[in-house]
Amino acid sequence: MSNLLKVDNLHVYYGSIHAIKGVSFEVNEGEVVTLIGANGAGKSTTLNTVAGLLKPKQGTIEFEGKNIVGVPAHKTVSHGMALCPEGRRIFLQMTVQENLEMGGYSRPNSEIESSMADVYQRFPRLKERYKQIAGTLSGGEQQMLAMGRALMSKPKLLMLDEPSMGLAPILVEQIFDIVKELNHSGVTILLVEQNARMALSVAHRAYVLETGTISMSGDAHELAEDDRVRKAYLGES
């Protein structure tokens, strides 16, 4: 397996606050890798930095062997990565279809239609509601739209930031089933989650992030059995 994404010794600051302190991890092609950790551990900051929304002070981010540090966020998508951001951040005043079109913004117009057909096939609910204003969708539908929108760019690497946030348990399961399906169809996934149990159940490998540094890493199933992880993140004593 080859590295699709390789992050090395990443340091990110918010003003004078040192948020990410030397984080290193890698995602291999075909994997589901998850970053778990508590609130404020730096999970979203890490994803946003990889996507180019934040600039690291130090460290390298290699995507397919190319260093992409300093590539602005509007260009990282055409390298083959898509971020489905925390809180979904769909365009609430636009229709479902327009949201998807915007997801394919970086692609030639001729390819939009087939991408959209793929997304509609995966999320039939979105097709039923294609003319509806996105702000009026339910939470689960909005999450599907956010994922569908990210898939419109046909990414090699899909980064999902807290896809289960604010969803009912049944919807959380549905979302994770979709994550598994996407991975089976060949999409590499970097998943950030607070719901560690779910995340570890779908991931191949996992990294535990604690206040800006990686405290543990390894096989997702082994980590799920680890006492420290069980105590801190799975709510078991």
């Binding site: 929304l53 509007h74 327009e98 913004y105 970086s106 760019s153």
Partner: protein, 292 residues
């Protein structure tokens, strides 16, 4: 019949306000800033057109596009030099800068063209039959209203149907999310200024054709009125700017005709205050119900 002629003058004045208000509202909607220099771009448009007509003896068909090109460039330069460096700064800093740019343009114009008013010859004048002029119709009014409607329709189609227009709506809602879609936010904001400023040039030419004195402060009052119109209609909304502009023009004309010329502006702003008290988002202000 007198009422009808007041109505026409109100609609035509309102159409100019609407064209200016569209520039305010688009820039506000996308960059979330009030570009108080917008009114002065109108004045620059008027002067460029005036110079092309009087000094270079160019025909109006060349002079007007020239004014539009000059204003487009001016708008993009203002945005790039004055506003872009403040993208992360507080809104007050941007507001003060905009006021500074406004004075800069007015004083610059005074240096170049002096404070003496110029007599602007209408570029949209043609003869109308007696039966129409007796109703108070003028060629300027007809062209202004027609231009306003065309601009409004084209702009609505542009924003709703084209890729760039949709990108503008994305930037208006969420710049971060727009970026990860692959949208270059800075370029999109720049384009918005370009469009708004080209519209300002058209407004300047139409305004000076109807009210032929051109001086460095020509754009400032219509600019403020158009800003009022944009707020009145619901800032950020394109149909709102159109409706707000028209209503403002009509109210102003009627107040001048039937109440008092001196009180016309007072009445216009009083109506604005009442509307904002009842509907704080303006007449067509955006309120999208949001499910969380």
């Amino acid at each position: 019949m007198v009422f009808f002629s007041y109505l026409i003058s109100g609609i035509s004045l309102g159409s100019v306000y609407a064209i200016i208000a569209l520039g305010y509202t688009m820039v506000y909607g996308i960059a979330k800033m009030l570009n108080f220099a917008h009114g002065d771009v109108i004045m620059v448009g008027g002067y460029v057109c005036y110079c092309a007509l009087s000094y270079l003896n160019l025909p109006a068909i060349v002079a007007v596009p020239l004014a539009m090109i000059a204003c487009t460039a001016l708008g993009v330069i203002i945005e790039g030099l004055a506003y872009r460096p403040l993208r992360q700064a507080g809104s007050l800093a941007v507001l003060i800068t905009a006021i500074g740019v406004s004075y800069f343009l007015q004083n610059g114009a005074q240096l170049i063209w002096s404070a003496t008013p110029k007599n602007f010859a209408s570029v949209v004048h043609f003869d109308l039959p007696e039966s129409m002029t007796s109703l108070g119709l003028s060629s300027e009014a007809i062209v202004t209203v027609a231009a306003c409607i065309v601009i409004m329709v084209v702009l609505t189609l542009f924003v709703n149907k084209t890729k760039l227009g949709k990108a503008m709506r994305c930037c208006s809602e969420d710049k971060g999310a727009a970026q990860i879609m692959g949208i270059n936010v800075n370029r999109t904001i720049s384009m918005t200024f370009a469009i708004g400023s080209a519209l300002a040039a058209i407004a300047g030419v139409l305004l000076c054709s109807a009210y032929p004195t051109l001086q460095p402060t020509t754009g400032s009052m219509p600019g403020i009125k158009a800003f009022t119109a944009a707020v009145f209609g619901g800032i950020g909304s394109i149909p709102g700017a159109f409706l707000g502009g028209l209503l403002l023009g009509i109210i102003e004309a009627m107040a001048k005709a039937y109440i008092s010329t001196n009180l016309a502006n007072t009445i216009v702003f009083a109506v604005l205050i009442i509307v904002l008290l009842v509907r704080p988002t303006g007449l067509l202000g955006k309120y999208a119900p949001e499910k969380v």
